[in-house]
């Protein structure tokens, strides 16, 4: 006999599930192109990343086949360069980072007790950018038009005279397109973690994984802009001849190395930190106790995030910088090991104090420990200056790199895959193939790369397509190649294992690992809305604190356990204490992300095809879709606060002072500011250090135009925030003032555009880097002024049509923030353009 109370509860749960499923569902077929649900988009990211992994893995097999024997001729020198470059590029940009993003997008709402991400459409947009950019890069190898300048694309090798083909353009444009998606995902991750959690999940109760992903996302916002800037500058040099990197005309190839490694070193940690997050999540579950030293781990991850930026120059040890500069970087290299050690201690202490069980995910984590210790040792060796000069550009570096990337990322990622696969599929493994696969991977991996360290010490350079017999390189190369095939067999077995689990795995009720976090408090595979109602969290492991939680939530006893007006809803909370703050109404099924990405693809495609007249049309089209996107969010009247369940009344997000979109803009501008700082750095760097300065005929910049531009951007930058202030206060008089001020900011933006164009008439950007950097600064300003113009007009239009008000204030606040930022950076840009080149010599 079932208890009638239990039966009633179950009936309620089923009714609620039906109602929610109806509004949250994305039917198969064509509507999938409009999918924005985080479960779908996250899975898409991960699957696509795995396809790229397989492709890059096949390229690696080609390389290892070529190197197996001396004098081999599977690949010629040109094909070899393309294959190695594409392998590295695809692995780093199209596999590792997107896989992490996908994992974050899929998991975060489930870990945080939310129904979806802060901006579901933004990650859908990011996915399309990734897919379009990524397929271009990978596709180029089929046509033999792939980039061949190395995954780090060093100039001058990648400039037009040395790489006249389209390969370098494919890299620069394709990867930049993909980086749009990385920035989008990072903004998404940051705002989701800070704002879209279950009530009561204060920061100190957040799963550690969320802390790791928060730091990762901030590192993406800090690390990718220099690369994006570098790629833009190099592409502009290749397309229009602006000589940023050409030493003859005032450029400097070292500028590329700086910009690239400002990104490139943090990149390794961007890959490594989420993997460590997997360990900090999985290891305590199987050690059967909470992690030791939660707050120490948080502090350690934040510290690694910062310190890893202090290492960029360590890739440039061999470029002849003064010894003191190198000393700074050597110091930072050693520092970064300290927080790593803190993490390791936390893991070991957790294992020691717990009752560990050796499950399959744990086996991969043990494999990680082994590799990490060995790889850490070689890393310290590379960080020591004299040693680096010896092994620089040999296979020792290749071996170290793969030790870190495969050991530090791929092994934990597989652990995470095995850990969360049951959550995603609702099935547990039945066959023991996983263990065999692990041993194949572990043996193959060490056979390949442990031995490769030795090849490097014997002096074999990297990126050479073949070698002569009799140098002692034959045996280790053959061993490495055999090992790499064993490794591949291991990966293939993992794929088989996962396939078997998905098809024939046994199903389970809930929480097979006895974990405490919220992603296990839902039925599996998860419904598109995750939770039928949202929990109130009062413990770091909510499921351990209340084992009956899943049933309560399913029956609608938490927050928002209802469907109202067919809306998709989740909650926004205050950042630190997670007090409920807003009801976030989310979109479902929208083609706008796809259209916007396609519009952006017109821009990138036109640039790649050399149709430079068409490229601006792509940008304008993108702005049009962005306008439609923003407009589709608006409500026609001020909505009243609503009941959110559990006796809480909350405003809808459109009627909130700081909706998530406002925070999204703040973090987007953070990335933008770093891009601007990189540009300022480039200007100062060239002006102070490039060889062919000062220019024979420096640009003639109209000072009158400069003053007009400065005054205009300043007026726009003050008028829009003042309008926002008047809007917040409300009242009839202020309403008029607000509209007038917004119109003024738009007019000032127009004037600024004209003045910037006027200044630009004094430039001959292809003649000398002095003109080129001034041109870049002006272009940066003009693009921001243009968007500011659109933002001011948009706010005004929404106000006049009644789609914005002093309550629904987002459009005005966005214009305010954007214009303020544009004013500030515009003034700095003008000052740099007019003063820096003279002042620095």
């Amino acid at each position: 006999m079932t208890d009638p109370i239990v039966a009633a509860r179950r009936a309620r749960a089923i009714r609620l599930h039906r109602a929610l499923a109806e509004v949250w569902d994305t039917p198969p077929g064509l509507p999938r192109l409009a999918a924005v649900n985080h479960t779908i988009v996250g899975r898409r990211f991960m699957l696509t990343a795995l396809v790229f992994f397989v492709a890059a893995g096949i390229l690696a097999m080609l390389v290892r086949t070529q190197l197996a024997l001396p004098g081999n001729d599977v690949l010629g020198p040109e094909a070899y360069a393309q294959v190695v470059t594409t392998h590295g590029t695809v692995m780093m940009f199209l596999f590792a980072i997107p896989f992490i993003e996908g994992m974050a997008l899929y998991l975060l709402p489930k870990l945080l007790g939310a129904r979806d991400l802060a901006f579901p459409r933004l990650s859908a947009f990011g996915y399309w950018c990734y897919l379009f950019g990524g397929t271009t890069v990978l596709g180029s190898i089929v046509f033999g038009a792939a980039p061949d300048g190395g995954w780090f694309m060093y100039t001058p090798l990648t400039t037009k005279p040395y790489s006249p083909g389209i390969g370098a353009d494919v890299w620069l444009l394709g990867i930049t397109f993909v980086e749009v998606s990385a920035i989008a995902a990072a903004v998404e991750i940051v705002v989701t973690i800070l704002k879209v959690r279950a009530p009561g999940m204060s920061l100190g109760r957040m799963p550690l994984m969320a802390w790791y992903l928060l730091v990762t996302a901030f590192m993406i916002l800090g690390g990718f802009p220099p690369l994006i800037l570098g790629s833009i500058l190099l592409e502009v040099e290749r397309a229009f001849g602006w000589p940023f990197f050409d030493p003859e005309r005032g450029g400097d190839p070292l500028l590329w190395q700086h910009l690239f490694w400002l990104f490139g070193h943090p990149e390794v940690y961007i890959i490594f930190i989420p993997a460590a997050g997997v360990i900090s999540t999985v290891l305590p579950v199987f050690a059967r106790r909470p992690i030791v030293g939660y707050s120490w781990v948080v502090a350690a991850v934040v510290a690694v995030g910062f310190l890893s930026f202090g290492l960029w120059v360590h890739h440039m040890f061999a470029t002849g910088l003064p010894r003191l500069s190198l000393a700074f970087f050597s110091a930072a290299s050693l520092l970064v090991t300290v927080p790593q050690a803190v993490q390791i201690f936390a893991w070991l202490a957790t294992l020691a104090k717990g009752r560990p069980v050796l499950t399959l995910p744990m086996l991969y984590i043990l494999g990680f420990f082994f590799v990490f210790v060995a790889g850490g040792l070689t890393g310290v060796m590379v960080a020591v200056v004299p040693f680096d000069e010896q092994v620089h550009d040999t296979h020792f570096v290749v071996a170290h790199l793969h030790y870190v990337l495969i050991g530090g990322f791929v092994l934990p990622a597989i652990a995470g895959l095995y850990y969360w696969l049951p959550q995603a599929s609702g099935r547990l493994p039945v066959f023991g193939v996983g263990k065999t696969a692990f041993w194949l991977i572990f043996a193959g991996f060490n056979l390949t790369f442990l031995v490769m360290h030795w090849t490097g010490l014997l002096g074999m350079p990297r990126r050479v397509f073949t070698y002569a017999p009799g140098l002692g390189w034959d045996v280790p190369n053959l061993v490495s190649s055999i090992g790499s095939f064993v490794l591949t067999a291991g990966f293939a077995l993992v794929a088989l294992d996962i396939f078997l689990q998905l098809r024939h795995g046994r199903s389970f009720r809930r929480d097979p690992w006895n974990a405490g976090t919220l992603e296990w408090a839902m039925p599996t595979p998860p419904a598109p809305y995750n939770f039928a109602s949202l929990p109130h969290v009062s413990h770091r492991d909510p499921l351990h604190a209340d084992p009956a939680l899943p049933q309560c939530l399913a029956a609608g006893e938490g927050y928002l356990g209802r469907v109202r007006e067919g809306r998709l809803e989740t909650l926004c909370v205050s950042m630190v204490e997670a007090e409920p703050e807003q009801i976030l109404v989310l979109p479902n099924r929208d083609y706008t992300p796809l259209w916007t990405a396609l519009a952006l693809a017109v821009f990138f495609g036109a640039m790649l095809a050399g149709l430079y007249w068409l490229a601006p049309a792509g940008l304008v089209l993108t702005l049009v879709f962005a306008w439609r996107w923003a407009a589709s969010d608006a409500a026609p009247a001020d909505p009243p606060p609503e009941d959110a369940g559990r006796g809480v009344r909350l405003p809808l997000h459109v009627a909130s002072a700081r909706p998530p979109a406002w925070w999204g803009l703040v973090f987007l501008l953070l990335a933008d500011a770093i891009l601007f700082a990189s540009l300022a750095f480039g200007t100062v760097f060239l002006a102070a250090f490039a060889a062919a300065w000062p220019a024979a005929s420096p640009p003639l910049l109209s000072e009158t135009a400069g003053i007009v531009a400065a005054v205009s951007v300043a007026v726009a930058g003050v008028a829009a925030p003042t309008a926002a202030l008047a809007n917040r206060r409300g009242g009839p008089l202020r309403t008029v003032a607000r509209d007038g001020l917004l119109a003024l900011s738009a007019a000032a933006s127009l004037a600024a555009l004209a003045a910037l164009a006027w200044i630009a008439t004094g430039l001959a950007p292809a003649a000398h880097a002095h003109d080129a950097v001034v041109g870049a600064l002006l272009a940066y300003g003009a693009l921001h002024v243009l968007i500011g113009l659109v933002a001011s007009l948009f706010a005004l239009a929404q106000l006049l049509r009644g789609y914005a008000s002093s309550v629904r204030r987002l459009p005005v606040e966005v214009a305010s923030l954007w214009q303020l930022y544009t004013g500030a950076t515009g003034l700095v840009a003008l000052a740099l353009a007019f003063l820096a080149p003279e002042a620095l010599r």
């Binding site: 120490w296 010894r323 003191l324 520092l335």
Partner: protein, 119 residues
Amino acid sequence: MSLFARPQGLIGLVAGFLVWSSAFLVLYGVHALGCAWGWEARALGPTSALRLALVVVWALHVVVLAWLALATRRALPAARRVPEPTPALLARATLVLTLAALVATLWTGLPVVAYPLCA
């Protein structure tokens, strides 16, 4: 209310290392520019103008960090009194991070005292 219960408290978490980043970048920049402009050759007291500038930059950052660490230390008891666990946790993590940034800045900048400058 404790600072660490408010969003601004999150800035504390990164403030220490932001100062470290500033130290790192300014030292690197002043060093590079100073060498380019020949400041090493200009004698100033017992040492060169460049070394003095670097030491001053370094010392300023260390002082700011020491002050930050003291301020965090003082805010700790108030954060501990909040019934919720998070403010105390953030305050502790902030203190650890600020002290770490202080040590990191001391360590990273140490070479400016004795290393050859522009060679």
